[in-house]
Amino acid sequence: MDKYLLIPLLPLIAFTINIVFGKGIIKEKAHWVSILAVLGSFVISASTFTEVLNGKIINYDVYNWIVSGNFRVTIGFLIDQLTAIMLIVVTSVSLLVHIYSVGYMHGDKGYYRFFAYLSLFTFSMLMLVMGNNLLQLYFGWEAVGLCSYFLIGFWYEKKSAADAGKKAFIVNRFGDFGFGLGVIMIFLMLGTVHYSDIFSKVGTLTGQTINILGYNVDLITLIALLLFCGAVGKSAQIPLHVWLPDAMEGPTPVSALIHAATMVTAGVFMVARFNPLFSLSEVAMNVVALTGAITSLFAATIALVQNDIKRIVAYSTVSQLGYMFLACGVGAYGAGIFHLYTHAYFKALLFLGAGSVMHAMAGELDVQKMGGLKKHMPITYITFLIASLSIAGIPGLAGFFSKDEILWLAYNHGMVGKIVWAMGTVVAALTAFYSFRIIFLAFHGKFRGTHEQEHHLHESPKVMTIPLIILAIGAISAGWFGIPAALGGSNAIAHFFEPVLGHPHVTAGHEEEFMVMGISIAAAIGGIFISWIFYSLKPEMPKNLAKKFKRIYITLWNKYYVDELYDFIIVRPMKWLANSILVAVTDGKIIEGIVNGVPQAIRNFSERLRKLQTGQLQHYGLGMALGLFVILALVLIAAGR
């Protein structure tokens, strides 16, 4: 057995062991199985990474599952630069989250189940990134989704958690529908689902159009946009972003792993993987860039006023994912993946830090009720601060380099690039502001919670803080591979990615680059500064501002009413339709939503049909005779004899 196979296989084995023996035999020791497995995957991934670094590209089929004509379903691995970096991200964050969970989930009655799901998720994610064909990607795509629903609804007794799981499921259906169509289109047009074949043949599609409802649509644009639909759903971009903040109902380690570092970035990964396809369609590229930029700005503004610490971080994730799409949209796939990679560390750190705070606050999430945690939880504080500095884009930390690379490349990408660059810079300021809002509200000042809570405050156990420290190191240093030439670096990561993802040609000189860099640094520091004034120096100011700009504040507080909008334009009309039309047919039964409507209609039909099965033999015989008669009569009529 080759070692690459072991990378996904180890977590799968851990899952199987935990799910089978977890309840009876392993119980409290369940974490050992999973941690060892993921550790193994990490070690192999690291060694694979060095191989790739030395120029080795691995692409082979492990197993032919179904071979039917030219339709081949295989399990195969493609490990190139893109995959290698994803492997490192997934296994390392997964490993740390596994360790952290030992402390966080301690004593939970679903302990073994939790670790089993985490391992299953890791397996699915690894299959997703390692696949060498579209179907495997699709399988991984759905499988990570499934694990995500399980884990969001992990505390299924809690209604909000169960609802959030359901919401994530339904919202993702919309995106995945498009994605599935895209996959089918690719197979129909190119007759293959293997990446290498797709990319070598995709050029033949240029200029081809397809007629939809009388409009001639460019085929490549259509396929790219259909695939992007899936990315929009999975990576929580506008307008399908609504599920991600609600997903915070799941346990915090899950949020860190799935909803920050790995699964939600699958969309970015997919777009980067299909860069030969996307690059052929300017329309699709612009759609990607603008969707990313708008989402980024939109989510950042919402994050400004939220009080729930996890929701702030969640909106921040949506915003940063928008950044990555922005990068892909301007052709800077390498920069996008670079940001994905640095973001994984500092965002996971933010989530785990938030989890540590929650742990100390006995589940309290409202930042308004915290304060002065600095002295009680020094390690959490310092690591959280590092993560915030990193995400804000303070020079020297990981976030700075990746963000700067994106903004610089966007700036150089013509008109659309300039627009998204401007938006991105604003987002940078907003990001710095809301990140430090948490720092000042939660860790500085005086404690504003109850006495009981204050009494309970404590630093988290070592098993939780050590992952924080390791992630903090990542949040500082992860970007050092990408120090731009302007700052005397070699931008190693851009060269690393160039064979797969390409690198946009930049003509502008270092002076301009310094200017762009200066603007973004100024934006970051400005954001932190305003945050300091608002929440440390003059705490009454935000309230006054909120009063003054009440309408804006309330709009932001209500997240631009998107949920309400969906309720108004989708959920309510569906209900209305169901109530007014189906009720008339089904004797006043109230049917909720179209989701229940169709099955209910079938059920009602079924109930009627069922009455034919009376239980009396004669009726059965009558049915047979009738069948005989009808067939006979029809055949004789058809035969015309």
């Binding site: 069922r610 009455k611 099965q613 009376t614 239980g615 009396q616 033999l617 004669q618 015989g621 009558l622 005779a625």
Partner: protein, 100 residues
Amino acid sequence: MVPLNWYIGLSAVIFVIGMVGFIVRKNILIMLMSIELMLNSVNISLVAFSHYLQDLRGQVFVFFIITVAAAEAAIGLAILVALFKNKAAVHTDEIMEMKG
């Protein structure tokens, strides 16, 4: 000489009578007898064919059908007796516990 068609016609009439008897009668015993009627109508046509085609296979078949009919009757009546012991029912509307 009687035409072959007459036999086929007679057999068809008896077959359909048996079929109708099976469908309309509620008494399980009569239903059983209806099946026997249908089998006999088949036998008539087979013997007639055998005669007109100058081939013995039809008659051999009839022999087997009679054998099977005997076995069938024995088993059917045994099932009926078992049912009767439990429920004292000989009508199909008394055995409608399972439906839907």
